[in-house]
Symmetry: C3
Subunit: 433 residues, 3 copies
């Protein structure tokens, strides 16, 4: 079953992988169309030039052709061969230039000589090509021809969003970036998992929170979404950024700026429970779009679920980040962990013990082993005792799970049972807020 899930996630990664995504443009739109094939995705086009917070939506970038020919006329680099060859948002040029002049516009990785790096020049009027260092080192002297047939023109930036309405307008935000071309882990993995989460939330019982799953280009996309949703920011109670979830590294949770919010504590607890190798990382203002959600003006309770950390694995932002690098099992595990975090957050309730003086007599109600003096009570009985003991009106299920080590689902289940026996009652959600 998890195998089937992993393969389904991996097939999404493979389908999304080859598209030539960027901050704007056709690759980004096609990515969202693929999502829209299976989910009720709202797509918004925000025109170039729109002011968004401290930024401006950029011109739309369209590339038709981009190559370098060597002095003999042989095309030594061609965008048609690999989407990473062209520096993202390179400005159009049609030049003949010496090897030395050309070299200033080439990017390669001396320590990974056969690998093409990923680079962008979104905000600077520049151009460049990314190539294998081994190729670069063998370029002969002479005059090179560079053709970069691209347009930067009035257009729009494209956002996708799925809303799963809940019992309240209080919102959980899930955000994943959609602008990276031809890299599987960064970030087809995040998109694939966000899509799967949307399916599960839509097909399950109506959740308590409203879920908002945002597919946006990194940085400018998140900033644009925030600028368009300023009035909604106050309703966001919890959230997570999904990025880099298919590689073989253990899972990691990066804490929000606040560091100790309910989702930080819940994700930390679950990751630690599931594996000693999993990591909980302190907040830092570098990384993915948690940078924007955790800027001091917003300071949202949003952390990030990842596996390997950006910039620390060899495949990061290179042509090595292919679907082969992404493992179905890793995707499936990440999905299940993300889902469990969200479910536990969604299930958090405060209950009130209605018989708080001494223990209520559970046995009379058929809730307790009638045979006494056994060395260990059962698990369900421990869950009942913990729930009753801690439900003083101030602590919710997440907090009780932290203190007791009992999973939230188990606590929720005994809470329902105890409610049927009038031993606990749910505290009004208004009162909880």
């Amino acid at each position: 079953m998890n195998e089937e899930l992993g393969l389904r996630l991996h097939s999404r990664v493979r389908r999304l992988f080859p598209l030539a995504r960027s901050l704007t443009g056709q690759g980004l739109r096609e990515t969202l169309q693929i999502i829209a094939e299976e989910l009720p995705l709202t797509v918004t086009e925000i025109p170039s030039g729109t002011k968004v917070l401290d930024w401006t939506v950029p011109l739309e970038w369209t590339v038709r052709e981009a190559w370098i020919a060597d002095p003999l006329g042989k095309r030594i680099v061609d965008l048609a061969r690999h989407p990473l060859h062209l520096v993202g948002y390179s400005r159009p040029v049609d030049l003949a230039l010496s090897r030395g002049e050309l070299d200033k516009h080439l990017h390669s990785l001396p320590h990974q000589p056969d690998v093409i790096p990923y680079r962008t020049t979104y905000w600077a009027d520049n151009w460049g090509f990314c190539i294998a260092d081994s190729v670069r080192k063998q370029l002969p002297d002479g005059i090179y021809r560079v053709l970069l047939d691209a347009t930067l023109s009035q257009g729009s930036l494209t956002l996708g969003e799925i809303e799963i309405p809940g019992e309240t307008d209080d919102t959980v935000l899930i955000s994943t970036h959609t602008c990276h071309p031809a890299m599987a882990n960064d970030n087809c993995s995040g998109i694939a998992i966000a899509v799967e989460l949307a399916h599960r939330l839509l097909s399950g019982p109506r959740p308590r929170y409203t879920y908002r799953i945002v597919f946006c280009p990194a940085t400018i996309g998140a900033i644009t979404w925030l600028a368009l949703n300023l009035e909604r920011v106050g309703t966001i109670h919890h959230g997570m950024v999904l990025a880099g979830l298919g590689d073989p590294a253990p899972l990691s949770w990066k804490r929000s700026r606040r560091g100790d919010t309910a989702i930080d504590r819940t994700a930390s607890r679950i990751l630690r429970e599931l594996g000693a190798d999993n990591k909980v990382l302190d907040f830092s203002p570098y990384g993915y779009d948690e940078r924007q959600y955790c800027s001091p003006g917003f300071d949202l309770a949003i952390g990030r679920l990842s596996r390997g950390i950006h910039g620390t694995y060899a495949e990061y932002h290179t042509s090595l980040d292919t679907p082969d690098f992404v493992q179905p099992n890793a995707l499936a595990e990440a999905l299940l962990v993300a889902e469990r975090i969200l479910l536990e957050i969604d299930k958090d309730r405060r209950w009130k013990n209605l018989a708080p003086y001494g223990e209520p007599q559970l046995g009379r109600r058929g809730l307790y082993n009638s045979l006494g003096a056994l060395p260990h009570p059962g698990e369900a009985q421990m869950a009942m005792l913990w729930l009753l003991n801690q439900s003083d009106g101030k602590r919710g299920l997440l907090e009780i799970a932290e203190r007791s080590g009992i999973p939230v689902a188990e606590l929720e289940s005994v809470a329902s049972l105890l409610e049927q026996h009038q031993l606990v009652e749910e505290i009004d959600q208004e009162e909880q807020a």
Copy 2:
């Protein structure tokens, strides 16, 4: 001297051991009579049917005879041979039945084939016998005779209580359970130590706190005591449950639900000081009567002093828990630790440094080594310096002991000395509260 103490405690354990105690009835009353022989014990009988919090005082259980005869008429199990053979509160029966039917009412321990377990059926209309698994396995087929001549009838539950009046009505509660038949560690050890503490408190100088030592059947007894003393609960400032204090395991303190009360901190400090093996355990809503005292409606500052933890040692709730399992030294050490915790709690005072600007000149008052520039001050001088430095009116002796590592008794002694020199004054107890 500690040897004598250990032997005295052990002889109490031996005398209490054989009685057939239960939640109610003659064995329980005899247990309290033995205590009353040497201490001013107030005994209260609470009639069956009395509503106590969420519970009801049960009918009184009296057993006259209980045995099983095999198909040849041989009594293979007989209560007269061992008090644990009968499941506590078994309902009367007089039956002839097949081996298979009989087996549903037998309890044994497959992994401890020669041991009789302890079981009860207080609140369910049932009956049973506890036997060695090796005996159970050899029972032949055939018709067995079971005679269980017992009565469940209107009677009462018996509580014992000793009050040691202090300077104030603020109370320290000591509670130990009295319902376990023929087991030495659980809980003749707790009763023996509570009795010794009562002697020491009664024969010592009048304490600051009023001490209330409660001898009660587990669970229903504590609940009954609480129900009868609701108006007194607010005066309970500290307390401890005593249980399982004679086995060879290191000492353990189980924190109260609040976890960080004065007695939790004091007991933890003392246990850590006395041995690296001693344990401080987080609260959990399972165990002994701390479950009731720490229910959320009461939430008292009551932890538990034990050695080995219930359910984790092989002798727990079996016929192996004999006086031989209980060690005089272990009892003596536990008594002294319990007493030290209580004494430190009792001695806690807040003092106010009357010369708080700079150090007062201790040498002029003959309080300081007149030879200067020594590498180390004496211990008494360190105690004086700590007391003066920390006595800003907000911190009491317990807190100063925690920070300084100096025993409370030493701090108390220098406080008296400094008081004689008008360097500190005790903060009014009203003000302290």
Copy 3:
């Protein structure tokens, strides 16, 4: 450069070393005169008999001659040979006495038989000599002559102080003791470093805080300074005692009584950053003059910078504490650490991010690498991101340094840059206070 600094500090230690300092008197005055040769030192004479807090300024002690002659008339001990031979503040005597009577007035160290200890009898009417235990053991029986030609007379206690005015009256206090005779580490090292700090503060840009460097006899000197400056105590925001900074042990910071003040956190962070061997010690009411500054009435944010801890190294308070024991490198390192702690405290400011919603677009302002998708941002960019992210008006540079691991100097530098771009503004100091 650090070598030069170390040698300069060491030459100050050597020059100060031989003087026969005490709580009062000529040696103390000469010590201050040496400081006054190079710095604007304010010297204050406080008359004997002046009441200072709980103490009284003592009579001034002047010694002309002090020796012991053996039965053959040979001077076996003579103050002229070593300043430590005479117990400080010994009262005058001119006696002939037996070996046994003499012995009651001798101090030696059996475990260090060739070493002269340092002892004082400031506040008790007594006299004594400190000698090598090997000498003491060989004294023959017979009548000894003791001449101790000294005066205790109306005079004064001498304090030295340097004020370095800052932008505000808020003050940083630096205090070092000046009463120890002929010992290099304790405390010519502290004096030498305080002098160097004064030079650096005076020659640098006007600091934010006013610095007050106090040179005072231990205990009574600090108490006298406090008594004379009661109205100023409220302006002391941070401070440090300097003592024992030239020995080979790692650096240590002793926390203030409050334990978690800005200077405690800053010094701890810097010491940990600079070496795993460095130590951060909890406050204790024994040691040097932090005892007075951290008495409960004052409770100042003053800790102590030292190397080896008083009383724990063999040279402590003995004739082994010579300039050879003090290492130029150790002095230089201690000076630089003290300076860095002060500079970071001085540079602490709160900034306010003026574009707190999302990240501001640094690239547009030339503040960010224009090439995107690199695995690591530069250090300066991380500093900018941290400063922007944390500058919500509540956190200052010290706190941001703690959280980010980025040095305060680096944060300060990017704060200036961001201020030029109107991205942050300094929060008014009034508002900060």
